[in-house]
């Protein structure tokens, strides 16, 4: 029974990895946007940072996919997208937050920035919009799915 209990807990932990991977991609987009604002030397370091972030994000995604396909029994895979589960509520709210943040950025913040710094390339705005979209999604997801706010469960230590 221990393995079955571990699976219910492990699914929660692995889903956090997915949000973490998205947060890494958001930081990568932010650093890509920043490359246009910094010196050439610093841009080199940002480039290296981006490669690291991209490799880490892909690694997390591959790990999650491998774990889901190989380690999780078929009948338990529905835990990742169970329409009755808390995960769907988290995804719904995270997507809404992400969509609203991106809409606000594209509609209001983006045009203001483009008026002030007219020489900025389009890539800056696409990368910064990606940062807002991915960052808002992952932060909302992680804040709703964090483990630290779980109620005290003394019975979780029970045999």
């Amino acid at each position: 029974m221990g393995t079955r209990i571990d699976m219910a807990e492990a699914v929660d932990q692995k889903l956090r990895l997915m949000a973490l991977a998205m947060l890494l991609l958001a930081i990568r987009s932010a650093s890509e946007a920043c490359m246009m604002l910094v010196s050439e030397e610093l841009a080199f370091y940002l480039d290296v940072l981006q490669i690291g972030l991209m490799v880490s994000a892909i690694g997390l995604m591959l790990h999650l996919a491998y774990w889901k396909l190989i380690k999780v029994p078929k009948h338990l895979r529905r835990l990742f997208s169970d329409p009755d589960g808390y995960i769907v509520e988290v995804l719904r709210k995270s997507c809404l937050t992400s969509w609203l943040s991106t809409l606000v950025y594209i509609s209001f913040v983006g045009p203001v920035i483009s008026k002030i710094w007219v020489e900025f390339p389009v890539k800056f705005f696409t990368e910064s919009a990606l940062f807002v979209m991915l960052g808002a999604f992952s932060l909302k997801f992680l804040s709703m799915y964090r483990g630290g706010n779980d109620p005290e469960d003394i019975l979780d230590q029970a045999p």
Binding site: M1, R4, L79, I87, P151, A158
Partner: protein, 70 residues
């Protein structure tokens, strides 16, 4: 979440000496689903409420009830 739906899952778990993870596996949901239902942050679907009630072999209204009925 709604602030109106209360539950006695914690009491039933204690009676059955059951952890959140164990209950989650019996019901077929993630542990987070059980823990958030327990604290009232997530209102469960009818299906999950019925599955929990069936597992504890108790009427669903004995586990889930509206605040005014308490």
């Amino acid at each position: 979440m709604s602030g109106e739906l209360e539950n006695r899952i914690r009491v039933f778990r204690a009676e059955h000496r059951l952890s959140q993870g164990a209950l989650a596996n019996h019901v077929g949901v993630s542990r987070k689903t059980i823990s958030t239902i327990e604290v009232g942050r997530f209102v469960p679907s009818t299906v999950i409420a019925l599955k929990i009630a069936r597992f504890f072999q108790a009427p669903v209204e004995e586990i889930f009830f509206l605040k005014d009925d308490a």
